[in-house]
Subunit: 452 residues, 2 copies
Amino acid sequence: MVNEQSQTVKQLIDDISQYLSDRDFTRLTQSLRKQSMAEIVTILERFGERQRAVIYRLLPKEQALSVFESLPPPLQADLLRGLQDVEVAALFAELDPDDRMWLLDELPAAVASRLLRGLPRRERQLTGEMLGYPQGSIGRRMSPEFVSTRFDSTVAESLAKVRRRLDDAETVYTLPVVDSGRRVVGVVGLRGLFGADESEQVGALTQPAHTAEATEDAEKVARQCTDLGLLAMPIVDSEGRLVGIFTIDDAVRILEYEESEDAARQGGVEPLRRPYRSIPIHRLVRSRMVWLLVLAIGATLTVQVLSVFETTLEEVTVLALFVPLLIGTGGNTGNQAATTVTRALALDEIEPRDILFVLTRELRTGFMLGLFLGAIGFVITGLVYDLHIGFVIGLTLTAVCTVAATIGGIMPLIARTVRVDPAVFSNPFITTFVDAIGLIIYFLIARAILGI
Amino acid sequence: MVNEQSQTVKQLIDDISQYLSDRDFTRLTQSLRKQSMAEIVTILERFGERQRAVIYRLLPKEQALSVFESLPPPLQADLLRGLQDVEVAALFAELDPDDRMWLLDELPAAVASRLLRGLPRRERQLTGEMLGYPQGSIGRRMSPEFVSTRFDSTVAESLAKVRRRLDDAETVYTLPVVDSGRRVVGVVGLRGLFGADESEQVGALTQPAHTAEATEDAEKVARQCTDLGLLAMPIVDSEGRLVGIFTIDDAVRILEYEESEDAARQGGVEPLRRPYRSIPIHRLVRSRMVWLLVLAIGATLTVQVLSVFETTLEEVTVLALFVPLLIGTGGNTGNQAATTVTRALALDEIEPRDILFVLTRELRTGFMLGLFLGAIGFVITGLVYDLHIGFVIGLTLTAVCTVAATIGGIMPLIARTVRVDPAVFSNPFITTFVDAIGLIIYFLIARAILGI
């Protein structure tokens, strides 16, 4: 089934490429009409910017808006560049306020403010309020179009209110319950209202709510929402008054965005933010170039360290044979620790203030791993080369693993403390840093034991 | 606000540790009563296995079940070991069928089958059906407790049906619509039913459904669910007949699980599956030991390669100085490509059959990056050392980057083809492999240019 489906998509994409290159728009339009929304989104994601705009403009009007809403915001921004001003203004006005905020983040400031000015009054007001919250806060990701109810309303009144707002509310499945001062006192599910007696008071059905303040970090709130499996969370101001609702589909979107970013940075790549297939090669090169250069410059440190020990190397060339093995093992140990700690930070399991806890744990873990590898290294090198070399390798492995795990473990915490994405400071960075330290340790041990 | 909150949790955990070590269960119980469910889950995640069991048993009965349901399945399994058989059987019977499946995956086979035998008849039957679907399939992650409606029912009939099933259904917000043969013809939202005329036919409100077959891969279906922002997806058998419903909160759980696993493996760590703080050090060591050893054994390849070129090294010791820089850059380039391709695979943007496409893209990307770095390397080394060394370094950088990006790019695809997690075969593995190849390239170029 999975294979059949992707076979179809593959076939479809081949067909569409053919129609595009033949400029056969009649058949292209026909073939698009037959597809579901999900398939059209997939198709758009597979093509480059120019072809994507052509395909999009052939979609039937009623489908175009929902397809647009389902595209990743960077692709939305790309698409807008291929459309006429009137079309852009219409699309922009029809978006939900929260979707509009995602798109605004992608647009150049001049375009964004022009589009904002062109919005109908009410939409402009809603969007303006959201823009008042700090960058990266949940206030910019919530929806201001909520249905709430009062704790002293009856079930019948609340259901009537839901009915009136069915079309424009972000969700009607979770209703924040407020007091006379618009302060959130809990939530009630449509499920709860639906099963209750019509004359009952909402207060009796209300359950404790997990709320968040509009200025809180969006990623943190999204994580709470998905961890607790909540369909929606009321968002409040500093006085506890209801200002918006945050739904699980937006939480998923935020977390996926953050996870793609973390994954990229941990591999030393700037996040691409667009599907792999649709990215031109020069952009792939650009997303890697800077990091590669920075790391290469960092690695010149190893050349300098080795220069210092050049005479040692000339005397005992055999030492050079183990350089890649030793620094590689150090890098791997550092990466392991960094990966574990970065993930724990992302999942909010630890905080920067736990640095001493992490340091002692990783030091002990690294030491044990080092002892184990060092013992093996000692035996093998001792047998193949000689006992002195065996000692040097065994001791170096122990020391390097200890140092590498410690550095790898605390680096993400330090990054977070200085407000840098922990993933940036991570694997390739740690490898380079640990390489240089590992070499110094290696040659100092070698000199001491071999008496050079 | 964020800081205040975590301050409280920190304080709370300190208090609880104190009560635990004083064995002051009265105050411990009192302090637990004051906490919300989310806070109790956080507390349980922070403590080790034995203390966790003590705290859990002090929770009020009515809270204990929902706390249990919110814990990650590995922690649920740990907890069961600390409870008495009667308690375990009661908990197990009260879980929703889909939550029960997660837990079953964590339990030793003997415990699992004993617990299954102890289930009430209907629950045993539901769970048995789910166990009939293959490991890793969506059939094991859906819920068999759905409310559906017929396309020829009226809105009033459907709402009455929803009302009857409010308590046990997984969701009532998305209803699959079926024909007389139980085949899914679409979905209708409670929102839609709610706004419609009571006498209207459901068929008129039905919207096209995104369904999945029960044997399809769970991760793939979860990704579709979140990508399209669907609250729920009907799950069907091979004839298109409704067998279950899959909800977005479970989709989030699956994706988070897979992402944690990918993140761990990409850093060369076996997934921990438990919060970092609650893991004893010997487990941390174990999760890294095997990988580290495998990689170290792989790295002995570099020792062998260098042995072959030992005489070259003795003649021109200066070549040794660049070894870490060159192989480090190769490793970084390989990692970048692997990271990008692994993520694209995880997001279903490319498939193993795209290998030629990826190969040519990464080869070109690697070559361009290599040319750029090679040119810089040539100039700098040419100035600091001499022109010949400059040539060697420049050419090696170009060749190594090209080879590394290509290998890094296709390795995840090969892994997927041979049905290994692409993340396993990834960064540390690629680094080691690329190191050895890089060294061979380096010394061959050096010998040719320096005429050794």
